[in-house]
């Protein structure tokens, strides 16, 4: 496998959706190519850190939001009776 092939297959590689023989070729290439090894580990680091970027909806606001939704839906149901 060459560098450009690995680059093209990287997402499928990370998804674990490559055929076994292609995955084996990718692993073999990464073991011998410092550039692709850096790209792979860097991408894996981004994926691992990604959940840190989640913005949480506070529990109190979440409960209020549900009540508002149910209220609007119930009102709408009443209007259609």
């Amino acid at each position: 496998m060459e560098c450009d092939e690995l680059e093209a297959q990287l997402t499928d590689f990370l998804e674990g959706s490559l055929p076994a023989e292609v995955e084996a070729a990718a692993i073999e290439h990464v073991a011998t190519c410092a550039r692709c090894e850096a790209v792979l580990t860097g991408t894996q680091a981004v994926i691992a850190a990604a959940p840190e970027g989640r913005v949480e909806l506070p529990e109190s606001e979440r409960a209020e939001l549900l009540q508002r939704i149910l209220s609007v839906v119930d009102d709408s149901g009443e209007r259609h009776r």
Binding site: T11, G42, A50, R54, R62, H80
Partner: protein
Amino acid sequence: MQNATVAPTLTPAVREWLIELFERTAQAGYHLALRVVWNHDDALDVVQSAFVQAALHHHQLRDPQRSRSWLLGIVYREALTVLRRRREVSTAPSNLVETAQPDADPADVLALSDLRALISAAVGALPEPLRVAFVLRDVEELPMREVAEVLAIGESAAKMRVARARESLRVTLQGNV
């Protein structure tokens, strides 16, 4: 949506389904909306509107196994509608935050030491289509198939967007993650 397609009342079963869907999906929906509209109150409005639509049009959900991507798809379209409305009322369309949030300047990114803020700012600097795909796949951890369903694109196109987002973030965050 057409009034003719609106269910006249909500049965207890549908109400229960809506609450269960909310418990499973509200957090992801809020985060998705926030990453498009960049405003807490607008994001809450988007989520509220999406769940109300889901309740009133629940009969349009053909596959119950896909309720999460169906709901998040509504959230995404609602959020884009908010952006379009802003564009219509704005006198300076170029100032709209469609491609990056105002505080996502690379200089700001470098100044942030907290990993959470660093990632948040870097994600904010991504173009909207890549940002949303990344948020759905890598932050909210939806399967790629569901990412494609939410965005109403093919799975290969979703993979492409996720790949481009990851590559951009890898370069931006190099040495920090």
